[in-house]
């Protein structure tokens, strides 16, 4: 119930921010910030005060929704979703902060969309009725697309379109799989059901489940994204406003991984196991190809976007390794990448605000005039190429260790991605912050320091004390 209220409250807060901005200029961002902080607190209190530890999926509410299909409004929480929702809250607040001055037009509507996206994302993480899950899956897309299309950069509409079409087409495949599974339940038990816990009890023969799994897999692979269906991501990331990129990289990609965990691997373990070699191949290709593509980019955000593809390859590799170390690695990578890519995109936004360009050729030598920014850029680039001590290292290390036990050859190739990541990390940092100073920029301001500082602190905290995350079992 609390969760439902939180989602509704987000919607309401978004609406009121929209209206409020019309009357009092500048009120929307404060409203959004306060609402997010408050609701995040409410969520934290709710989780803390709950009587169980959410090691297993805890169904929180079940209400009948569409009776003709036995569709329910049912939501549940477990540690995996709690971690991801927490990440969502954090990044949401950061999103509001990075948009503070960046968004100048239609401010109220912007925050409405932002909060709506957050609500959708939280819905995705908690829905256990598959129809509801799909519902939220799409609902989070709409405002996100709006954010890209309205407040993005020069080529925003194309990017938004591409983003939406990719996800929509793939999610229709998932919808077919959802329907298929639901009706398989009908055939087996005589009762149509889209209720996830019901599905877990199903015994689906491999010959069927491999197709069903594939439907789910495609949707999540697009969202993750994995080569060869990744190409929406560079465009979307590049064209989105900073907060959009942060949210996309930080949370939206995680919904893909979340789906892979919950609806591919847990639901169709046999089929996934059978599919693992293909998935691992895709993962490895993503890692290496993403790193290689990142190196070739001239655009700061595009580079980071390709690096995301590379990082998400690690997640996929780890998930299809089917052991707990890799699984933990995947989850840490999710969080770490959420933070580090969010940080890099924020930095890109900050640079863009100063020089009105994302092009690396327009950058150079910023360290001289903006040492603090340079320091943060280095740290975040370091996180991106897996510098030990930062969270990404733990994630990648765990993923690789876990994956190595199962598929050494793939893992070795994946490890080569470390070299690739160093290369693009260096290119990113050096071309923008080193070399002859092309122009002087203003160093980070307090608000920006707060954003970067908090992200770096979290990265460090997880990197140096990963038990924070690893103490949870995440349903294994």
């Amino acid at each position: 119930m609390t969760l439902t209220c939180i989602m509704l409250a987000l919607l309401f807060a978004g609406g009121s921010a929209w209206r409020a901005e019309n009357h009092w200029q500048g009120s929307a961002k404060w409203l959004a910030l306060i609402a997010l902080a408050l609701l995040a607190t409410v969520f934290a209190v709710f989780v803390m005060s709950a009587s169980n530890d959410f090691a297993q999926l805890q169904v929180l509410s079940r209400v009948s929704w569409i009776e003709s299909f036995n569709i329910e409004y049912s939501i549940a929480l477990d540690q995996l979703s709690i971690v991801l929702i927490t990440l969502t809250w954090l990044l949401a607040i950061i999103c509001v902060l990075v948009s503070w001055y960046e968004i100048q037009s239609n401010v109220g509507f912007y925050y409405f969309n932002l909060l709506l996206t957050i609500a959708g994302i939280i819905g995705v993480f908690v829905a256990v009725d598959m129809f509801l899950f799909f519902f939220f899956w799409e609902v989070m897309l709409l405002p996100m697309t709006a954010i890209i299309a309205i407040w993005g950069h020069e080529n925003r509409q194309f990017a938004a379109l591409k983003f939406f079409i990719f996800t929509q087409v793939s999610s229709l495949l998932m919808l077919v799989a959802i329907i298929g599974t639901g009706y398989f339940h009908l055939m087996q038990t005589g009762q149509l059901s889209f209720y996830y816990p019901d599905w877990l009890l199903l015994d689906i023969p491999l010959s069927i489940s491999q197709y069903l799994m594939f439907g789910f897999f495609i949707a999540f692979a697009v969202k993750l994204p994995s080569v060869p269906v990744h190409s929406w991501l560079p465009d979307a990331h590049t064209q989105a406003p900073t907060a959009g990129s942060v949210l996309l990289a930080g949370v939206l990609l995680k919904t893909g991984a979340y789906g892979l965990i919950r609806f591919v691997i847990f639901l169709f373990p046999q089929a996934s196991l059978q599919f693992a070699p293909i998935a691992a191949t895709l993962a490895v290709v993503s890692i290496v190809y993403g790193a290689k593509m990142a190196f070739a980019q001239q655009d700061f955000k595009r580079l980071v976007a390709y690096s995301s593809i590379s990082h998400m390859g690690f997640v996929m590799l780890a998930l299809f390794a089917f052991n707990s170390t890799a699984y933990q690695g995947a989850i840490v990578t999710l969080v770490a990448h959420g933070l580090s890519s969010a940080a890099l995109f924020s930095l890109a936004g900050m640079i863009y605000q100063r020089i009105h360009s994302r092009n690396l050729t327009d950058m150079g030598g910023f360290w001289q005039s903006a040492p603090r920014m340079g320091g943060f850029a280095l740290a975040f680039a370091g996180a991106a190429f897996g510098l030990p001590g930062l969270a990404n290292f733990i994630g990648e290390f765990f993923s690789l260790v876990g994956a190595f036990q199962v598929m050494p050859a793939f893992t070795i190739i994946a490890a080569l991605g470390l070299i690739g990541s160093a290369i693009y990390g260096m290119v990113l940092f050096q071309t923008s912050f080193q070399g002859a100073a092309k122009q002087d920029i203003i160093d980070l301001q307090l608000r920006e320091l707060l954003i970067c500082g908090s992200l770096l602190l979290m990265l460090l905290a997880i990197g140096l004390y990963p038990t924070l995350l690893l103490k949870f079992s995440f349903g294994v």
Partner: protein, 631 residues
């Protein structure tokens, strides 16, 4: 848990934080005081630790800071802690790191005084010490890897310290990426290691490896295979960090950094991390004799290659850089031959004299207004007598003239080569040849830089600082007498003793040859480089130009490795990146969009607004459908 041990890296770390956060606001004096004193404290603490260690019974101290994470594998799980482990080997290393580090900090504080980013510089230096200490003290390989990457990052930062110069930036990038290749190999090694033993703790791994070996006694082919591969992959890491073949190319370029950096990182400490790694993991390496052999050969080849390359250099720092490579080659050779103690001993003495050489070179360069070209120096012996004499001390140590520290360590290595199973006479001859080359390029360097007539016009500028001189003098003393430090690492390498060594009969002339080799080189140089030495007499200084013959240039560029790698790896990668800049997958997908657009354009032509055509189409459709249904 030993608080002193646990706190060791934190002194420089605190200094680093202070300097990074308040750097802009600190005066030079304060910044210098903070960083140098933090190093002084570290040095002091390590001295105390050294003392404590020597009185403890099993000569091992540990300090567990916190639980880092737990790794699980098929058969169980093992903890990975942030835990420091001090034994004889790491004790040597921390003394070198803190001791030499302190001296270099002291030097740097004065040397870099005028730089606007002084505090940043010192902060990096401090951070480097932190990472190096973690590397050295790590009790498990993951923590070691943390330090390993940390020093890499600091090295990157310091090479590119003057980042406005594009060449420095590129050098920094190259250093980072080339070492990263080694690191990746090491990381894969770690994965394989963990997969084989379920442990990443160094002691535990060593123990397990020995157990596995003794239990299976070579019957378990897979395990032996694994150990072989683990050793090889770890060697990859070591090779990268220590600038050995085939990943040696970054080190000469790394001289782009400020000279104290070259002294600290690229001569005394970081580059020897590879040596340290192999020494640390000797348990594994001993079980893979083939890899030991590779280590020796790699060392020997690097030794020769670097020696030859050093002969052709014109830049004083690059000569020293190649010389560092070649000396590390010696260490590798020692390790490969199983002369663990000798290798580590050489590591230590080399740290002393190479730091001295670099710092003195730095002083000289500073005096000549940042002139690094040997051919534009000359006659410095007269103009800078103090620096020159220190330089001479450094050089004689490098040449291993009897009595110096270099002599003791190098002699210890050469002595064990002939009879080692993993080395042998061939490698012994390599080592001797290397020693000859060392003395020749040392002499050449000396003649060119310090003898003859001055080939520069400006007045020399001098930093008159007693602190600076003190640091140099202490280093000189260490270089001269460091060989007398009794280094006993038998406890660390105790497993070596358990292995039976095949005793080859050593010829009696071995030692004689080894001792006189440097002198042969000197005599040879005395005549061969006559023109360098006495150019002022002939009055034809204008002729004194570097030989730009093809072969010499080839040698000067590190025997063409750079070019080879560029053609082999860099250019294909860039080419691939360039041709696929638009992402082939994206293009394939967008092709569909284009295709749909094409269909649209074609179909629009059909919708031509003509009623009669619409009617005809109606009939046509029915006709076609009927036709199909008839078929």
């Amino acid at each position: 848990m030993n608080v002193l041990l646990a706190s060791l890296p934190f002194y420089p770390f605190v200094s680093f934080l202070l300097l990074i956060f308040f750097g802009k606001r600190l005066s030079w004096r304060l910044a210098a005081t903070i960083s140098v004193s933090s190093m002084a404290i570290s040095a002091l603490v390590s001295a105390i630790l050294l003392f404590e260690l020597s009185v403890t019974k099993n000569q091992v101290m540990t300090a567990n800071l916190w639980h880092w994470f737990e790794l699980s594998y098929a058969m169980g799980s093992s903890d990975v802690n942030v835990r420091f482990y001090l034994d004889g080997l790491s004790a040597v290393m921390i003394s070198v790191v803190t001791g030499v580090g302190f001296l270099i900090h002291l030097f740097a504080a004065i040397y870099m005084k005028s730089d606007v980013n002084f505090s940043r510089f010192m902060a990096y230096m401090n951070l480097f010490i932190v990472a190096m200490l973690i590397l050295v003290l790590a009790d498990n390989l993951v923590l070691l890897y943390l330090g390993w990457e940390g020093v890499g990052l600091c090295s990157f930062l310091l090479i590119g310290f003057w980042y406005q110069e594009q060449s420095n930036v590129l050098a920094a990038r190259k250093a980072f990426i080339v070492t990263r290749i080694g690191d990746t190999s090491m990381a894969i090694g770690l994965l394989l290691l963990f997969n084989s033993f379920g442990q990443l703790n160094i002691e535990a791994v060593t123990l397990l490896a020995e157990q596995a070996n003794s239990l299976s006694a070579g019957t378990n082919a897979e395990s032996a295979d694994n150990i072989y591969w683990i050793a090889l992959l770890l060697l990859g890491g070591a090779v990268g960090k220590s600038a050995q073949l085939p990943l040696q190319t970054w080190l000469p370029d790394a001289m782009a950094g400020p000279t104290p950096v070259s002294a600290l990182i690229h001569a005394a400490t970081m580059v020897t991390a590879g040596v340290y790694l192999i020494a640390r993991m000797h348990g594994i390496f001993l079980l893979a004799p083939e890899v030991m052999n590779y280590v020796a050969w790699l060392g020997a080849l690097t030794l020769l290659l670097a020696g030859i390359a050093a002969l052709a250099q014109t830049d004083i720092k690059r000569v020293l850089a190649y010389s560092t490579m070649s000396q590390i080659g010696y260490m590798m050779l020692a390790l490969g031959a199983g002369a663990w103690t000798a290798g580590v001993f050489h590591l230590m003495t080399h740290a002393f004299f190479k730091a001295l050489l670099f710092l003195t070179a730095g002083a000289v360069i500073y005096a000549l207004h940042h002139q690094q070209n040997l051919f534009k120096m000359g006659g410095l012996l007269k103009k800078l007598p103090f620096e020159s004499s220190l330089f001479i001390i450094g050089l004689i140590c490098l040449m291993a003239l009897p009595g110096t520290s270099g002599f003791f360590s190098k002699e210890a290595i050469i002595a064990q080569l002939w009879s080692s199973d993993t080395a042998g006479p061939m490698l012994w001859w390599c080592a001797i040849l290397g020693a000859l080359l060392t003395s020749i390029y040392s002499c050449r360097l000396f003649f060119l830089g310090f003898l003859g007539k001055a080939r520069f016009n400006e007045n020399v500028q001098l930093k008159k600082s007693s602190l600076l001189r003190t640091s140099l003098i202490i280093l000189a003393l260490l270089s001269l007498f460091g060989g007398l430090i009794p280094l006993d690492l038998t406890l660390v390498f105790s497993s070596v003793m358990n292995l039976p060594l095949a005793q080859l009969t050593e010829p009696t002339w071995l030692h004689t040859v080894a001792i006189i080799t440097p002198f042969i080189g000197m005599v040879f140089s005395w005549f061969y480089f006559k023109s360098y030495r006495i150019s002022h007499l002939a009055g034809k200084e204008h002729i004194l130009q570097p030989n730009n013959g093809r072969f010499v240039v080839f040698c000067r560029q590190g025997l063409g490795f750079d070019g080879l790698y560029k053609k082999l790896f860099i250019m294909p990668y860039q080419w691939l990146a360039q041709i696929n800049k638009n992402d082939i997958f994206d293009q394939i997908i967008m092709l569909n969009a284009w295709y749909v657009g094409l269909w649209h354009d074609a179909l629009v032509l059909v919708q031509n607004g003509s009623l009669r055509w619409y009617l005809a189409a109606f009939g046509l459709a029915i006709m076609l459908l009927l036709g199909v249904s008839l078929l």
